[in-house]
Symmetry: D2
Amino acid sequence: MGGSFLGRILKISTFGESHGESVGVVIDGCPAGLEIYKWEIEEYLKRRSPVSKFSTARIEPDNLKILSGIMENKTLGTPICICVDNKNFNSSDYDELKEVFRPGHADYTYEKKFGIRDYRGGGRASGRETVARVIAGCIAKKFLSELGIDIQTYTFSINNICINKIDCDAQKNFLFMPDSTTFEKTVDFLENNLKNDSVGGIVECKINNIKAGIGEPVFDKLDAQIAKAVMSIGAVKGIEFGNGFDCTYLFGSQNNDQYYFDDVVKKKSNNSGGIVGGITDGGQIIFRAAIKPTPSISKLQSTITKSNENVQIKINGRHDKLIVPRAVVVIESMAALALMDQILLSCTCKLESVKKNYLERG
Amino acid sequence: MGGSFLGRILKISTFGESHGESVGVVIDGCPAGLEIYKWEIEEYLKRRSPVSKFSTARIEPDNLKILSGIMENKTLGTPICICVDNKNFNSSDYDELKEVFRPGHADYTYEKKFGIRDYRGGGRASGRETVARVIAGCIAKKFLSELGIDIQTYTFSINNICINKIDCDAQKNFLFMPDSTTFEKTVDFLENNLKNDSVGGIVECKINNIKAGIGEPVFDKLDAQIAKAVMSIGAVKGIEFGNGFDCTYLFGSQNNDQYYFDDVVKKKSNNSGGIVGGITDGGQIIFRAAIKPTPSISKLQSTITKSNENVQIKINGRHDKLIVPRAVVVIESMAALALMDQILLSCTCKLESVKKNYLERG
Amino acid sequence: MGGSFLGRILKISTFGESHGESVGVVIDGCPAGLEIYKWEIEEYLKRRSPVSKFSTARIEPDNLKILSGIMENKTLGTPICICVDNKNFNSSDYDELKEVFRPGHADYTYEKKFGIRDYRGGGRASGRETVARVIAGCIAKKFLSELGIDIQTYTFSINNICINKIDCDAQKNFLFMPDSTTFEKTVDFLENNLKNDSVGGIVECKINNIKAGIGEPVFDKLDAQIAKAVMSIGAVKGIEFGNGFDCTYLFGSQNNDQYYFDDVVKKKSNNSGGIVGGITDGGQIIFRAAIKPTPSISKLQSTITKSNENVQIKINGRHDKLIVPRAVVVIESMAALALMDQILLSCTCKLESVKKNYLERG
Amino acid sequence: MGGSFLGRILKISTFGESHGESVGVVIDGCPAGLEIYKWEIEEYLKRRSPVSKFSTARIEPDNLKILSGIMENKTLGTPICICVDNKNFNSSDYDELKEVFRPGHADYTYEKKFGIRDYRGGGRASGRETVARVIAGCIAKKFLSELGIDIQTYTFSINNICINKIDCDAQKNFLFMPDSTTFEKTVDFLENNLKNDSVGGIVECKINNIKAGIGEPVFDKLDAQIAKAVMSIGAVKGIEFGNGFDCTYLFGSQNNDQYYFDDVVKKKSNNSGGIVGGITDGGQIIFRAAIKPTPSISKLQSTITKSNENVQIKINGRHDKLIVPRAVVVIESMAALALMDQILLSCTCKLESVKKNYLERG
C-alpha cells in the first residue's frame, strides 16, 4: 500500500478512480517561485488526448482545478493540489463487468489483492489515472526548462512499423510520429487492422542539454529511477537506455563511449544513453519503452467470473485501440518527475555548494 | 544522496568502496524467527564468483562477518549487519587512474557529481559493491523459500548466442547456462574473441509458485520495483517482463492472457510475465535484463584526464572479460529483495487480515 | 520540502492554504474493507469547532467532498482523497498583513524560508490546515476501534487551572473538560481575562485496550512517532509520556513499573505511560501536550515589515482567544494516525505471522 | 520494522546488539568534501563515558573502525560505515535474565513484539545502541560547525536539584553541569542517595548562530523532527521547546516574541525557542528533555517470567546509577542529525537557489 506516493524531494501523491468523483495529484517539494499558468497545464494535458478514429470516444474536458500551492501564478513551496472531475462517463457500461474479469486488465489482480474493487472501468488501474501523472509532469517539465533542459518524446514504432528518420514535428500528427513517411504508412496499417483489435508500440524519449553529475550511486541510479517511474505506467512492459538490449551484441571496445576534449568534454558515441554508473555524463539521455496493445478489444475472449465460472466476454464501450500516442506525454512526464527529483537532490552532494547556499540565505 | 538505501518494509543500506576496508549491508525489517546459517550465505555468495579463465584473477575469500541481528542462527527482527573485508587487492594497479577517466566506467560521472572520488578501482561504482546485494539477497531468498516461492536465474544469451532449450542445471557450468549445446558453442566463441576485449549478454529470471495479489498499484507496481532494483545494477541497460519488447508486435487479441478455470485459475498464455497492473496474477514471473560488455579492456582507448588533456589508455590489472554469469546471482538477489518487500507490504492490504493478525497477538 | 507527507504504511499527504480554494488530505495505505460514512467524518470534524464566545466567528460549514478511495461506504485500499472548500473567509482582513510580520505567527519564518508567502491568513501555518489532519484522524480512529482500541482526549488545564478529577463527559462542554467544577471555574477565568488577550493550556490523551508489542525499536519508537506527530501541530510546545518530566524527581525504585501476573500480565504502576523501549507494554498509553496561547491578539505589539521598518500592530479580524479545546481532536487525530501506522507495521514483525497471512491468501 | 533507519537526505541506519559482535552506523547523504578525523570521533565519543563512581564499570575502549566513505580524511559523498566492536562484556551476567523480564527495561515489550529476543543485556534496547548515534552525531556536528552553527548541551537538573546559573565549562566536570555550586550540591546528593537506587534529570540543549528559514512546514517541522529524534532515545520521557510547558501559564501578549529591527532583525524575547511554524526564526534554538532514572537497580523488585510466574528480582552486574550526564552527548547528537537533515533539505526550497546551484556545476 502507499503505492500512489512517489519521490524523495519532489514528492507526489495521486488519487482517483476512473469513475469516481475526481482524479488528481498533490505535489510537495516543488521549489517556491516557479511560474506556472493553468493554461500551460491544460495545453500539456491535451497531448494526452490526441483525437483520431482509433481513440476512445470518451471526451474528457479535463477541467482543471488548482486547489492549493500556487498564488498569483507562482508556486509557494507548499503542496500543490490539482484535480480534474470525472464527468463524461457512463458507469452502466461496466455493469456487466462487476462479476467478470477482463483479460489483460487488472480486474483479477485487484480483486485478489484487496478483496474488493471498483469495477467501474478499472479504478486505479485505468489509464485515466495517468491524468494525475501528466499534471505533475507538466510542472516538472517547466522546472527543467528553467534550467535549460529540454525533453522530446515521440512514437518510435507501432506494431512492426518503425520510424527511419526524424523529418517533422512529432507533436503535429495524431500518432506523434516524427517521420512523415512512416506516419502515413502507419495510418494505412491501422485502417486495415484495427477493426476488433488493438496494437502496441515503442515510445522513445530524449533529454537534451543536461549537465554531467546528476543522479545517485547504487540503488537510486538515475536510470533505475526513470525505469521505475516509466515501468509504473500500466501498459509498459520493458525499458532500455542508450543502445539498450543491443549492447549485448557488441564487444566492450565497441560499446565503450570514448571521451575527448574539444573545447568541452565530448564522447565519440552515446551507447550509454547519457548515464554511467547512474549519473549523467553530459550526453543526451535516451531511452525507449515498450507499450503493450490495449487489452480492451471487442473480439470474443475466454475468461472467468468471481465465482470461477468459465465464460466468454466481448468488451463494448468506448475504448482506445491504440494507446501508444497517448502514452507519449505520460512517459515524458514520468521521466521529467524522476529527473527533477534527482536534480533537487544534487543540490546537496558537495559540501562547498551546500555551504554557499546556506551562507547566502538572507 | 542516500542512494545506498533501498526498500520500504525490508530496508537495506549498503556501504563500502571497492578498495576500502570492507563492503557490507545492514538489513532492517526482516521478520524475527527466520533461520539462517552463515554457510548458507557463503554458498550463495560463491555463485557470484564462478571460476574460469575469463574472470578476474582477484580472488576474494569473501570472509563473512555477521555483526548483528542474528542470534543462534535465527533473525531477531533487529538490523542484520553483515560485511566482508577487502583483502586481496593491489591499489597500486590503480595509481595511474588517479588522473584519468576510464571509458565506460563511472570515473568521470562520480568526479562530476562529488568533486572527489575514490580512484582505487571504481569505489562504489565497482562490481565489488554487489557483494552486499547478494548477502541481502540470500536472506530474501531464504524468506521466500519459507513461503514456497522459488527463483531460477540463468544466462540467457552471450553476445549473439542464445539458449534454445533448458536441458541441464545452469548452476553446474561456469557460464550458468541451462542449455548444454549452447554452453559449448559459447565457450568456443569466448576462446576466440576475448583476447583484448569483453562481451555482454542477457540474464533471465523466473519466479515460480507465487500467489496472485502481491504488488502495489500505481507507482509501486511489482514490475516497476523489480525494474528499479535490477536496473540499479551497474551493468544493466534494459529490462523487460513477459514477452517484453516483443509485445509490441502482437495484436491485443494475441497478447491478452485469457483466464480459465480448471480446478484452479489458469491462463492460456503468460505474455504478462505474471504481473498485471503491478500485481501478481498467479502465473510465473519472468523477466530478462541486458548486461553490457564489461568496460575494462586492454585495447587502447581515447579518453581525457582531470585537466582535460586528450590521452590514450590501456587498462591493465585483473579484470573480468565476461560479467554475465557473475550478474546472474546479483539479479536474482535484487528480484528477491524487491519481491520480499512487497510481500511484507501485502500483509497490510485487507482489514480482515490485519484484524486477525492483531487479535492473535499474545 | 515534502513536509506535508507523513507515515510509512499509512501515508498521508495534506494540502491547502488557509484562504486558498480547498484544504484536504490524501490517505494511502488504509486497508481495504473499512466501513466509513461521510457523516462519521462530519461528526468528528465538529469537535474541531466548539462554539463559544471565545472562538473565531469564522463559521466553516466544512462541507466534505470524498473524491476517491471509498465506494459504497467501504475503503477500496486505494488512495482516499477528501477535501473541504474554503468558503467563509474575508481575505481583505489580511490586506494590511501583506507587508507586516505578526508576532508569534509563522509569517516571518515562511518569508525567510520560501522568499514568497501566502499572506492571506497564515497559508499552511494556519490552524485551518488541521482540518486535513482531523479528516485523516477520523479514519484512523475508526480503524483502531475495529481492533477494540479506544482513545480519550480532553483539556487537562487552561492557563493555571487544572482538572482534579474526571466526573463528566468532556465532549459535552465547550472546553472539553472532564471535570465539571474546574469547567465552571475556567469559564469564570476566561470571562475576566480574555478581553484583548489569549490563553494556552494542556491537553491529555489516553489510549486504552492496546495489546503489548506494538511499536518499533530505536528511531521509530512509538512514543517518538507520536511525539513527532503531535509536535507537528503548530501550537504545541512540549509533550511528555506517562509521568513525563516528573519522572526526574523519582528514584528508579519508585519509577519502575513492576510486573505481576494475575490472570493477565499487570503492572503495579504506569509511570511509563504504556510504552517501554518504544513498544507498548499493554498498559494505557498516556501523554500530555502543551498548547501555547494563540498569537492573534488585539493588543498593540511591536514588529517589523518586509523592509525592516519598526511598526506597531493590532490584529483585528475573527480569531480564537482560546485554541486549547479545538486542539483536543487534532491531538487525538495525530496520535491515532501514528498508532495506526505502527499497528500496520506490526503485521510484519514475526515470520510465523507473515507466513500465515501469505498462505491464507485466496 | 525498519525502526533503525532515520532521515531523509542525511540517512542513517544503525545496527548492533549490546552483547553482539559490534555496534555501528551507516551514514548516507553526507555531502562530499567534509574533513573528518578518526580522533575527532573518538574524542566526541568520550563524552558518552564520563568516569565516576556512579557509572557502569564496563569499560568500553570503543575502538573505532571506519569501514567506508572516508578517504584521506575527507568524506566521499558515499555511505560512511563506522563501527565499534563489543569487547568488554560478560554475558554470563545475564544468564539469569533469560527467563525474567526486568522492570523498566524493554525485555517484556521486545518479547511481545518479536517473540524472540537477545536477552544478553538489552539487545537493541540497551544504552550501548547510542554509540552509533553519537558517531553519526559527531559528523553532523562537524558539518554544522562548517556553517558556523554551534551546539551546547548540558545537565540542567538531577532529581530535584536544578542549575541556577552558567558559570563554568560543563564539559569539565563529570556531571556535565555548567553551574559549579549546583555541581557540588548534586555530588553530595548522589553520595547519599544512590546506594541501591538510581536517579534521573533534565538535559538542556542550545543551538546558536542558526539562520532564519530552516525547517519544513506541517508534519516535518524542525521541532517535530528534533522531538522525534530525541524522544527516540530510550530514557527520554518528555521534551519541550523554548518556555515549553510554562507557556501555558502565560497570556498571548506575554508569550508572543515581538520583533524589532536594530541593524539586524531581533526579538524582545525567545519564548518560541527559536522555531515558529516549524521554521527557525533566527533566535537560539533551545529545548529540554526529561531523562528517567535508570531502571537497573539492585533493590528487590517484583516481576514475572516468560511463563508468567511471579518472582522477585535484584539486578546485579555493572550498571549506571545515573545516566543523565551520559545522555548529554546523545541528545546533542540527535539534535545535530535532525538539524543537518533539514539544512540539506533547505537547499531545495527556492527556485532561484536551485537554479544557481545547478548552473554553477562544472
